[in-house]
């Protein structure tokens, strides 16, 4: 009970109740203290409920009565199941008060819940402090610049805000990979693999941007870029790179080659879509010209069909012609006399020029047609000639073959029959030999092929194995990263909790409480066991009693009958029968008496308990108080009645 009281008093002190230092247990609570404690608890639990109540007990009896009633009502509203009324507060007794206070203290909201709910990490703490700072600054009223204190100047001045303007920074890449000399925008120094030299020539990053204000922006951007690149590479490597089972460098080079191929294909399709007719304009032709100017790679050369070499040259010649014509026209325009001459002369001259230009145009178109015709002719003849050439070559080879065969036959012709027979025999012999050789080769080949297949199977099995291992590795990676994250989180949490713990007041020792609670739990468990044992013992006894009683009855009944049967005949048997009956009755009485004794003892115990509880209720003192208060109320009533009568 002491511990419970101590906890109660501590919680009440936390709610704001002024419990004196000497008050150690609920037994010593006065009515005033009780009322104050209850009201303060109510205020904490439910401000709406508790605001209408006053913590101190008014002197007047009726007022006190009213206060008691309202407190009782409030507690019942909260959900207190026990019997409660004004008497609980004014004429209190220990057990009731204790249970009420315990109920209220349990209802108190857990203040520490918020802090332990979100164990925040370092970044969350930082954010919280930033938020707190900003809130504080926002809470300050804005003052005009002239009235500002120097401290406010810093925060309320628009000066510190700059737009986000970043510049690219140069960093020596060899920070990670020694030996790489990738210095952007710096002249190539000596082939120095060590980065010390380059660090000397490269200004620090804080000095690199042109404006000092863009330093944080540039740093943030640089870092974000590097971080995202690293993350992307991580993701790609973990998803595709590991699957391809290549080293990172090989993977990168393959990726580069693949991308280059795609670019080539795109260029090829773009170049092809240009129509290769005469006078084609458009971006396609520019593209092919551009590509050709790069050095005429064989890919591009293949794209252009055979005949378009002519279209190309023709286009070039034709682009010259319009230029010439334009030049001529410009010259003609310049030669126009600017002096004032008669209108007719002017017109005549213009007509002449028109006629000459038209002539030129006709000539040009004629030559165009001619060249077109020539080109067609040439193309067609090329086809014909190449066709002829091919055919001639083929017939050549065929003729050569047949000449060879004929030569041999002529050589053998003189002795025709014999040679024919010999040839046939030869052919058959070689056929047999070849078949023999094939059979021998087969003997060698079959096991080799089998071996090849077996090794292939082994290989594929190994591949399956390795892919399985790869997936395991991936899982392990994931687990590792997860555990690392968790460990980080837990460490942060641990640090935070340690700081919180150090900041907590050390007035109550939780460990003592927890030890005591565990002890109590153990005790209760033991008691429960004992109770169960006792119960089972009792049951056993009861069973025994029942069985014995039954046996007794049965035995008596049997004996009774037996003896009674014989009793009619024999005198001694009759006597023994009487004795038997008397014995039975006496024993029954005895048993009854024992049972009654037991019952009465139980009643005595119960009554003693009741006496104890009644004694604790301080009923006598409460009764005296009630009588006094009743007298006081009566007096007040009469005083009020007198006042009313006077008024």
């Amino acid at each position: 009970m002491d511990e419970v009281d101590k906890i109660l008093i501590h919680s009440l002190r936390q709610t704001g109740t002024d419990v004196g230092k000497d008050v150690q247990s609920v037994k010593h609570f006065t009515s005033e203290l009780i009322v104050e404690a209850v009201v303060r608890c109510l205020r904490v639990i439910d401000p709406a409920l508790g605001s209408g109540l006053c913590p101190s007990l008014p002197p007047g009896m009726s007022a006190r009565f009213r206060v008691g009633m309202s407190l009782a009502q409030a507690c019942q509203d909260l959900g207190y199941k026990g019997e409660i009324g004004y008497q609980t507060f004014l004429y209190s007794n220990e057990p009731e008060i204790r249970s009420l206070l315990m109920f209220l203290v349990e209802k108190l909201p857990r203040e520490s819940a918020e802090a332990s709910d979100q164990p925040a990490g370092k970044s969350a703490l930082l954010q919280k402090s930033i938020a707190a700072q900003i809130k504080a600054q926002l809470a300050l009223p804005w003052l005009s610049p002239s009235c500002r204190l120097p401290l406010l100047c810093k925060t309320q001045n628009p000066g510190p805000s700059h737009s986000f303007h970043s510049q690219t920074l140069s960093l020596p890449h060899c920070l990670k990979v020694p030996g790489k000399k990738q210095l952007k925008g710096k002249p190539q120094n000596t082939q120095d693999p060590h980065n010390l030299l380059s660090l000397d020539f490269l200004p620090p990053v804080t000095a690199q941007p042109s404006q000092h204000a863009s330093v944080p922006a540039s740093l943030l951007e640089q870092h974000a870029g590097e971080l995202s690149a690293a993350q992307e590479w991580e993701n790609e490597w973990n998803s595709q790179g590991l699957l391809s089972r290549l080293t990172p460098e090989e993977y990168r080079s393959r990726k580069r080659a693949r991308l280059q191929k795609r670019i080539e294909e795109q260029l090829r399709t773009a170049a092809q879509t240009r129509p290769d007719t005469l006078g084609a304009h458009g971006s396609g032709s520019d593209l092919t010209e551009l590509l050709q100017s790069f050095g005429g790679s064989p890919l591009i050369g293949d794209i252009l069909a055979k005949g378009t070499r002519f279209t190309h040259t023709e286009k070039f010649t034709f682009t010259e012609e319009p230029e010439k014509a334009a030049k001529q026209m410009a010259a003609a325009a310049n030669s126009l006399p600017s002096s004032h001459q008669s209108e007719e002369d002017l017109q005549a001259r213009q007509q002449e020029e028109l006629a000459s230009l038209q002539q030129q145009l006709q000539q040009l178109s004629l030559s165009l047609e001619e060249v077109g015709g020539d080109m067609r002719q040439l193309t067609v003849s090329i086809h014909q000639v190449s066709d002829e050439l091919k055919q001639k070559e083929l017939s050549n080879t065929e003729e050569e073959d047949s000449v060879r065969v004929k030569k041999q036959t002529i050589y053998l012709l003189p002795d025709g029959e014999n040679n024919l027979a010999k040839l046939q025999a030869l052919v058959e012999g070689s056929a047999e030999r070849v078949v023999n050789l094939a059979a021998q080769w087969e003997k060698h080949r079959a096991p080799l092929i089998d071996e090849h297949r077996r090794l292939k199977e082994l290989c594929s099995n190994q591949e399956i194995e390795s892919s399985r291992k790869l997936s395991e590795i991936k899982e392990l990676h994931e687990k590792i990263s997860q555990s690392a994250e968790e460990a980080k989180k837990k460490e942060g949490l641990y640090k935070q909790l340690i700081t919180e713990f150090e900041n907590l007041p050390k007035d109550i020792s939780r460990s003592a409480y927890t030890a005591r609670i565990l002890e109590i739990v153990g005790n209760i468990r033991k008691q429960k066991e004992e109770i169960t044992k006792i119960l089972s013992d009792t049951k056993e006894l009861q069973k025994e009693i029942n069985s014995l009683t039954g046996k007794l009855d049965r035995t008596f009944a049997v004996t009774d009958e037996l003896v009674f049967k014989d009793a009619k005949k024999d005198e001694s048997v009759r006597k023994s029968y009487k004795y038997l009956a008397a014995l039975h009755e006496n024993c029954t009485q005895l048993i009854q008496t024992i049972e009654d004794t037991g019952t009465i003892m139980r009643e005595i115990r119960d009554l003693e308990e009741q006496i104890d509880t009644e004694n604790g209720k301080k009923t006598v003192s409460n009764l005296e108080k009630i009588l006094e208060d009743y007298k006081a109320i009566r007096q007040e009533n009469s005083a009020l009645a007198a006042k009313i009568r006077e008024a």
């Binding site: 399709t269 092809q272 129509p275 290769d276 007719t277 293949d302 794209i303 069909a305 005949g307 015709g373 067609r376 002719q377 067609v380 003849s381 086809h383 014909q384 000639v385 190449s386 066709d387 002829e388 091919k390 083929l394 052919v427 058959e428 056929a431 070849v434 078949v435 094939a438 059979a439 087969e442 080949r445 079959a446 092929i449 089998d450 090849h452 297949r453 292939k456 199977e457 594929s460």
Partner: protein
């Protein structure tokens, strides 16, 4: 004697696919160059296990004809000696075009291989055909070369089907073939491709030149290189990507959609006029006539062709060196399309003055 014909066969090869889905070139006689081997492995349908099995496929590469028969191995055979094999293909390379003959021959060889489980027996059959022109087959009788005449192979393609699918547009194919242009045919299934393309060279029967036929081509560098060396060809592709390669064709035939397109560069040379209309009508009418067989249709077409060629030849006689020039054509005042056609035809028939 079977002598001149037997020299047409070049080699025989065996490709196997095993339980690890690994395709290997396992055996050949006498020898096959590495490049041709690569091509054959790509043609043999064992490499692409998503598609179905094509029992018989043929094609041409560098004037070598190849015929591939593929068989799936059923369980209880002597082939269990070669226990890992699930499918195999037999490749016969030759110099001549005769799909029926070599289909039958490769079937015989397949059955031999299944029965004996060793290529040695196959080789015996091959050598028998090579030397004697006859091969004993386990089933119905023997395989004789002389049963398979080359003319029959030429006529096996159905011109009637071609005309029934394209109608009047067949004249485009006829013109393209006459002028030795490049025709590309596309169909997602190999068998339909082979069926269709083998009938096309029959439209120019007077040349009897089936070396322009490349019925099964993939878009690989070596094969395209090979195509580029030919002036005019009929090439069949399974890959729909070929429609984007306008550098490969003058006429593009989309077989499933029954569409014929002429590429820009060839439009000028392939302009058609009254003469073509006449020929087209002849072709269509002949094909629609249910009584006429394929052979007769081809004959009708060749009669018309010969008329035109006779005309051209007579023109050539009148010129010096028996070579035609554009001027001589212009003198005849033909309509421009006909003149154009005759001009290009003269070049194709090597009657043009250079």
């Amino acid at each position: 004697m079977a002598a001149p014909e037997t020299q047409l066969m070049l080699s025989v090869g065996l490709i196997e696919k095993d339980v690890n889905a690994d395709t290997l070139w396992v055996w050949c006689y006498p020898s096959v160059s590495a490049e041709l081997r690569e091509v054959l492995l790509s043609k043999c349908c064992l490499r692409q296990d998503s598609r179905g099995l094509h029992t018989f496929v043929f094609g041409q590469f560098r004037r070598t004809w190849y015929y591939i028969s593929t068989v799936e191995v059923q369980e209880p055979t002597a082939l269990k000696k070669v226990q890992f094999v699930t499918h195999f293909s037999i490749v016969v390379t030759t110099k001549d075009f005769n799909p029926e003959k070599y289909a039958a021959f490769s079937r015989v060889l397949c059955r031999m291989y299944i029965k004996h489980g060793s290529p040695v027996k196959m080789m015996e059959g091959y050598i028998a055909v090579l030397t004697k022109g006859v091969c004993q087959s386990d089933e119905n009788g023997s395989f004789l070369i002389k049963d398979y005449d080359v003319r029959k192979a030429y006529l096996a393609g159905s011109v009637k089907d071609v005309v029934s699918q394209f109608g009047m547009e067949t004249i485009i194919l006829y013109t393209a073939l006459m002028l030795k242009k490049r025709i590309v045919v596309h169909h997602p299934q190999v068998e339909a491709l082979l069926e269709f393309t083998r009938a096309l060279p029959a439209l120019t029967w007077h040349r009897k030149d089936w070396s322009i036929l490349h019925p099964y081509v993939h878009l690989t560098d070596s094969e395209l290189e090979n195509l580029r060396t030919c002036t005019g060809y009929v090439a069949g592709f399974v890959d729909p990507e070929v429609s984007n390669r306008s550098d490969l064709f003058d006429v593009y035939v989309n077989l499933p959609d029954s569409e014929i397109t002429i590429s820009q560069s060839a439009k000028e040379a392939m302009s058609m006029g009254k003469l073509h209309k006449d020929i087209g009508l002849v072709i269509v009418q002949s094909a629609e006539n249910a009584d006429r067989t394929d052979g007769q249709i081809i004959k009708d077409i060749s009669i018309k062709t010969r008329e035109i060629l006779a005309n051209l030849a007579s023109l050539a006689e009148e010129c010096e060196n028996s070579k035609i020039t554009l001027e001589t054509l212009k003198q005849r005042h033909f309509p421009p399309a006909t003149e154009n056609f005759l001009f290009h035809l003269a070049a194709a028939e090597q009657l043009l003055k250079i």
